[in-house]
């Protein structure tokens, strides 16, 4: 079984937008890979006029939030750097047991790379708050610039979501069979080493 890789379009986001953007993207991917019985849950983004879908699993939501927190703290330590977060789906295969090893092996069959370029404008104060308020510059030009920028990010995010849908539709054969009682395939969220 080959591992399908999808590199998502790079998004230029600000620090306070990371959480929402990542939540949107990661949950959308998982929703397409949670092929067990799900009760979809619509979530409206606060910063953008986009609604994405979660599969409604509380544990999953919690885990994703933890990973996002981890990512954000990494970004804070490495400001003004391109960053990447990887969502991988795997199958658990047990290795041939031997005297020395009895490990299970993970066979990755799909990997998604979310590329972010976290910008921090010198005018804006960066803090650990996830929803940092922007320092408002007097004048209309700053407001216009901000709204223009916001629209661009929204459009880019929308494009990324369409990209996910397209990928999910076009490549289906590599998806493993659905196991009884399993809601979503085993997954992991990591920050690739080259970015660490």
């Amino acid at each position: 079984m080959n591992c399908e890789v999808c590199q998502l379009k790079e998004l230029e986001v600000e620090h306070f937008e990371i959480r929402e953007v990542l939540r949107c993207i990661l949950h959308t991917i998982v929703f397409h890979r949670a092929l067990g019985l799900v009760r979809p849950k619509d979530v409206d983004l606060e910063l953008f006029e986009i609604t994405y879908v979660q599969c409604g699993d509380v544990e999953l939501e919690k885990k994703i939030d933890e990973k996002i927190d981890h990512f954000i703290s990494w970004v804070e330590k490495h400001p003004n750097k391109k960053s990447q977060i990887c969502l991988s789906f795997y199958e658990v295969k047990s290795k041939q047991p031997s005297w020395f090893t009895n490990k299970t092996e993970r066979l990755y069959w799909e990997q998604w790379y979310v590329n972010l370029n976290v910008t921090q404008h010198p005018k804006h104060h960066s803090s650990k708050s996830h929803h940092t308020k922007l320092v408002v510059d007097p004048g209309e030009s700053a407001t216009e610039e901000r709204s223009c920028r916001r629209a661009m990010v929204e459009a880019s995010l929308r494009e990324v979501l369409f990209q996910i849908i397209k990928f999910v539709n076009e490549k289906k054969d590599h998806v493993p069979p659905i196991s009884e009682g399993v809601i979503y395939f085993p997954y992991e969220i990591t920050i690739p080493r080259k970015f660490q």
């Binding site: 929703f31 019985l37 009760r39 979809p40 609604t51 076009e170 289906k172 069979p177 659905i178």
Partner: protein, 622 residues
């Protein structure tokens, strides 16, 4: 045999797939169906039950709208495409929004533009015959098909929320405002081709087909890339507004007072029309039951005199004509579609919205209960006797002895129960309730017929009990008495009558005086009254006369007169009433008053002589 079974499975998958897609689309595009579904989902979430239909494709969507079942039945031919058009209905600006709100079933006043903003096509192509695998291969194949269908549905579900039409759907789903547009749908097996102009503004997205064993399951969407061309704006509508100082319907008592309840007694008009010539019936005075009468008496709880009770004021129904109906599907009647497009199959279009049931009904203000002056009159000190107002015609007449007071006719009869409560409670809830029901009956609304009838009958029955006590009064004098009862909250006509009798200066009898206390207690027996109707009638006249005389005598200009007819203890009982009544006394010349007094005296003598009672004048006693 096996092939049939296998093809049956495939057919089932395709059929359920079409139903599921339709469910997803309608749930994300048609506000009325979404509301219905959302409500059900709330219920189902609490019960955590998964329906059989939810299990298909592992996507829990809740109950399928009934429309879906009908459509499924009609579009059974799986090889026909299923075309779902999402149509934006845009009402013209010249249409009256108010008209539309109140007559949603009527066609919009202005032209309504209809534009297909999305077209979903679900198709199962079977171009060639493919040998159907059997056995384990077939099972694996169906599982794969099923898995791929699940993924396709997932992506469709996500896609629905990213297309431009979703924003409109969300706007319409918001119940806080109404708009000049609406979203409706049309399902058919035939797609009316777009015009060139329409096509120019549209984009297409084709989902990757799911290859089935003997065919190919495909879904595509053609949608308007932008909807900014449409003037989609909310209708200006006034939010429901509670009018705190609502004066009620025209039938409301215009003399009903409004808050200023702490001011105590108000000097209201208490016209003593005693200036009439004695020849005319002096007892037909409107003052007792006129609209202003009830306000004049101090009460422990003056709020009752203020008029409208809280329940009346806080009527939740908006009386503002511009307010929209409060129905959940208030503005969704436009979802009903009358198809004019060509159809191939038997089933054309489906009316998606539930029947509109305007909830804005003109609510009758509960002024009846709260503001009925007779109801609020009750107090322990100087409240006049609240004579019950039965539903009978007699009581109606009794209510308005003076026909010049039209407001009285509109008031419902007073529940005697409400008049029998303690002084501390100004309003009887049961009375209020019974009045509301009575009014509801009058208005033709009967929430629960039996109970309402019962309450109405009860009122009638109760009032009859009391009206019997006063029947003689009506027949004899035709005027209400002016007696005041301070002893109890009960209507004790007998008691008052006796008191009045004793206060009458010209018929005081030593014997009568001494027996006053005992007669007071006796007077509380209402059952004795009917047997003594005639006597009572006459006595009531005496009471009225006596009181009037007393008032005249104790009026400031007359107080110089040293003669005091009554030193009876009962006199104190009238002080309150007198003090109030004196406030209503119209200053006149002493000579006129004396003249009138004399005339009354003569009349009284005449009456008494007829009855054979010895007239004992105080003057003679001196």
């Amino acid at each position: 045999m096996e092939m049939d079974r296998e093809s049956g499975k495939l057919e089932q998958i395709v059929s359920q797939f079409r139903s599921k897609i339709l469910h997803v689309i309608l749930d994300s595009r048609v506000p009325s169906l979404h509301h219905h579904h959302h409500q059900q989902q709330q219920e189902s979430l609490s019960h955590s039950r998964v329906r059989k239909t939810d299990k298909w494709f592992n996507l829990v969507l809740g109950d399928r709208p009934p429309a879906l079942e009908n459509l499924n039945f009609s579009l059974r031919n799986l090889f026909d495409p299923m075309v779902i058009d999402i149509i934006l209905v845009h009402r013209g600006s010249c249409s009256s929004s108010v008209d539309n709100l109140y007559s949603p079933s009527a066609p919009a006043a202005g032209p309504a533009d209809e534009t297909v903003i999305e077209r979903w096509v679900v198709q199962y192509d079977c171009p060639r015959f493919i040998a159907t695998p059997s056995g384990a291969d077939a099972s694996v194949s169906y599982k794969k098909i099923y898995k791929k269908s699940i993924i396709l549905l997932r992506s469709l579900y996500t896609q629905m929320r990213l297309l431009p039409a979703y924003r409109i759907f969300k706007q319409l789903s918001s119940l806080s405002q109404t708009y000049n547009f609406d979203l409706v749908y049309k399902v058919s097996s035939f797609s009316h081709p777009f015009s060139r102009e329409e096509e120019s503004g549209m984009k297409e997205y084709i989902f990757a087909p799911v290859e089935a064993l003997s065919g190919c399951l495909s879904v595509s969407v053609t949608y308007r890339a932008t909807l900014s061309d449409f003037n989609l704006e909310p209708l200006v509508s006034l939010p429901p507004k509670i009018i705190t100082d609502y004066v009620g319907s025209p039938t409301t008592d215009p003399m009903r007072s409004f808050p200023s309840s702490d001011k105590g007694a108000h000097a209201t008009s208490f016209p003593l029309r005693g200036a009439r010539p004695p020849s005319s019936s002096p007892f037909q005075r409107p003052h007792s039951w006129s609209s202003g009468f009830h306000r004049g008496f101090p009460s422990t709880k003056t709020q009752s005199l203020a008029g409208s009770p809280p329940v009346y004021r806080t009527s939740p129904k908006p009386y503002d004509i511009a307010s929209p109906p409060t129905d959940l599907y208030g503005n969704r009647i436009q979802n009903q579609r009358v198809s004019t497009l060509q159809q191939v199959t038997a089933y054309d279009e489906y009316k998606s919205s539930p029947p509109f049931s305007p909830s804005a009904s003109p609510s009758t203000p509960s002024y009846l209960s709260g503001t009925n002056p007779l109801l609020t009159r009750h107090c322990s000190e100087t409240a006049p006797v609240t004579i019950p107002l039965p539903l009978t015609g007699r009581s109606t007449r009794y209510l308005s002895p003076n026909s010049s007071d039209p407001s009285r006719h509109s008031l419902p009869p007073l529940s005697p129960r409400s008049s029998k409560h303690d002084a501390s409670s100004q309003e009887s809830p049961s009375g209020i309730r019974s009045y509301r029901k009575i009014e509801a009956l009058r208005a033709g609304e009967s929430p629960s017929g039996l109970s309402n009838n019962y309450s109405a009958q009860k009122v009638v029955r109760d009032s009859k009990d009391d009206s019997g006590r006063f029947s003689a009064l009506l027949s004899s004098s035709g005027s209400p008495r002016i007696g005041f009862s301070r002893s109890s909250s009960r209507l004790s006509f007998q008691d008052d009558m006796d008191d009045c009798e004793f206060s009458c200066p010209f018929d005081v009898d030593d014997v009568d005086v001494s027996d006053s206390s005992s007669q007071n207690t006796e007077g509380k027996k209402a059952s004795e009254f009917t047997a003594q109707s005639n006597l009572v009638g006459k006595k009531s006249q005496d009471a009225a006369v006596g009181i009037l005389v007393h008032m005249l005598r104790t009026a400031p200009p007359l107080r110089q007169d040293s003669s005091c007819y009554s030193t009876h203890s009962l006199r104190t009982e009238y002080e309150g009433g007198v003090s109030i009544a004196s406030g209503f006394f119209m200053p006149r010349k002493t000579a006129d008053a004396l003249e009138e007094l004399n005339s009354y005296r003569e009349m009284k003598d005449l009456l008494l002589s007829k009855s054979g009672t010895r007239v004992v004048r105080k003057e003679e006693m001196k």
